[in-house]
Amino acid sequence: MHKMHNTPAGRVFDVFNHLFLLLIAIGTFIPFVYVIAGSFATEAELARRAFFLIPENITLDAYKYIFSTNTFIRSIGVSIFVTIAGTIVSLALSLTMAYPLSRKGLTGRTLLLNLVIFTMVFNGGMIPTYMIVKSLGLLDSLWALILPVAINPFYLIIIKSFFQNMPDELEEAAKIDGCSEIGIFWRIILPLSKPVIATFTLFYAVFYWNDFFNALLYISDSSKWPVQLLLQQLVMIANVDFGNMDTLLSEPPEESLKMAVIVVATIPILVFYPFLQKHFAKGVLLGSVKG
């Protein structure tokens, strides 16, 4: 960047600004570090020391314990299944719906677009949606975590705009070469949309991994809980007595166990974080372009 004239007051400001932002960055991130450290610490150390970033005695007890329980392993399995299956279903539905909606000559296009946009400002609400899911027989089915939320209308509109901004000449040329409609979508449009597909794969995957609301609504069978719901039960019950909750573990959850579950539920996000940061920022900026 260009060189700026800096006054002494400006230099003092710079020093404080750099330090202040460093503190903000550390402050934002340090709770995660503490939880990771705590998950490797002994109960005795957690009780004795108020705060630490490196445990004195590193132990894997908490992880050994949670990975020895069926409840935990199963919840991780549920979360992985819902994330993978959900992302595939969501992408397939969003891409196949966005493409026709991006074709300007399509009869009924404007009506459909308006119907989609209307769902962003008005919806039937929690109870009627619950009733539909119930009458479809999806209660306590993992598909209830996927199908009712399969298409995010915001993402759909952004993908549609992306398709729409592709040059028409591509399609014309493909038609002249004798390419069928299916061929145009499959062999030309989709391969050219890799960046946008990557972005929305991550958007949907993060949504499914993090989703707790739909599991709370539709899954009462504790053997089908995703890890987010299990974590909520584990942490919140121990602190506040809600009354009629099932106890999941034979003994009351100890601090390091909770921390270990938090860490496992966080790890996929941290592992993919470099991609997330890049693609999400792009998605936000894509979203701010009106389509």
Partner: protein
């Protein structure tokens, strides 16, 4: 030459379509309609059918009779709701949370992006951004769980510090007076960093000449921030503020549900959590559907109202 070609191809392409009958047009694009079908089924089933299902708000739905056989009761559930003290409690809680949000959270990303924008060592700037974005990607369950770990009275870090200085512990998680500060604190922690993305993007488009001109005019650092940087953010700030006002009824369900317990429910309940507790937990389906419908109708009026207002004051509307 190239222009001529595209013009011709457009003509060739569009003329016959106008002459086609509806059936021929549908037939020509049959592949596109096949592609649309799963999406249309999704919207019909999970978005439009529930809208029609909100009619149950005017019925006395009984799971034994089913949707059709249940009696119509007109506006009874709405009357019950508006004459119930719960209504004012929910409205008050929602309004206070919205006010806290605008006063304490809303300015945070703006201030943070102004400060980040002042850093000129690129790698330092990137590193700061990388760290402050992290909590945005975490679920509310993770955020709430970590809050519990830190705030609990049984050995939480914050309470260890508090009791070291005051000799007493504060029940952050179960006392009504701490509910709102905790909620706003969580939002600040989770979303401030990420909130800077859109502001920093707006600042990236400010031309260096503007700063240079300000320097020539003898403006120091703070004057430049005030007179060049902040005005560049003005329309983004206005749009986001309008958006926020437009959906202030949507105080995040997940976050509030996770932090609610029997001791702080009085101040914690908002419309969505109330619908959940009344409908799903207690089975008052029609009554809670009426509450949900009330919220949705007010919501849509607010969105269109604020959008109209935005256009009126000369800003670009959302739609």
């Amino acid at each position: 030459m190239a222009n001529l070609k595209t013009e011709q191809s457009v003509k060739v392409h569009t003329l016959p379509i106008n002459k086609m009958t509806l059936w021929e047009r549908l037939k020509k694009d049959r592949f596109l309609y096949v592609l649309l079908l799963p999406g249309i089924i999704y919207f019909a089933l999970f978005k439009y059918l529930p809208m029609w299902g909100t009619l149950m708000a005017f019925k006395d739905y009984s799971p034994f009779l089913g949707f059709w056989a249940s009696d119509w009761v007109g506006l009874e559930h709405f009357k019950n709701f508006f004459s119930n003290p719960d209504f004012f409690r929910l409205l008050r809680n929602t309004l206070i949370l919205a006010l806290y949000d605008i006063v304490f959270f809303f300015p945070a990303p703006i201030i943070l992006s102004l400060l980040i924008n002042e850093i000129r060592i690129t790698i330092y700037k990137r590193s700061i951004q990388t760290f402050v974005y992290v909590p945005h990607f975490m679920s509310w369950v993770i955020i709430a769980s970590i809050s519990y770990v830190f705030l609990t009275t049984s050995g939480g870090v914050i309470n260890e510090v508090v009791s070291f200085f005051t000799g007493k512990e504060i029940s952050f998680l179960s006392s009504p007076e701490w509910f709102r500060p905790v909620i706003i604190g969580q939002v600040i922690w989770k979303e401030t960093g990420w909130g800077t993305v859109i502001f920093l993007a707006a600042l990236a488009s400010v031309s260096p000449e503007q700063y240079e001109a300000a320097i020539v005019d003898g403006a120091g650092r703070f004057r430049r921030m005030w007179h060049v940087t902040l005005p560049a953010l003005k329309s983004t700030i206005i749009i986001l503020l309008i958006l926020r006002l437009g959906n202030f009824l949507d105080q995040g369900f997940q976050q509030i549900y996770l932090m609610t317990n029997s001791l702080n429910r009085e101040v914690a309940d908002v419309f969505d959590t109330y619908v959940y507790f009344m409908g799903i937990t207690q089975g008052a389906f029609s009554y809670s559907a009426a509450v949900g419908l009330f919220k949705a109708v007010v919501g849509i009026i607010l969105i269109y109202g604020t959008n109209y207002f935005a256009k009126k004051i000369g800003e670009e509307g959302l739609f």
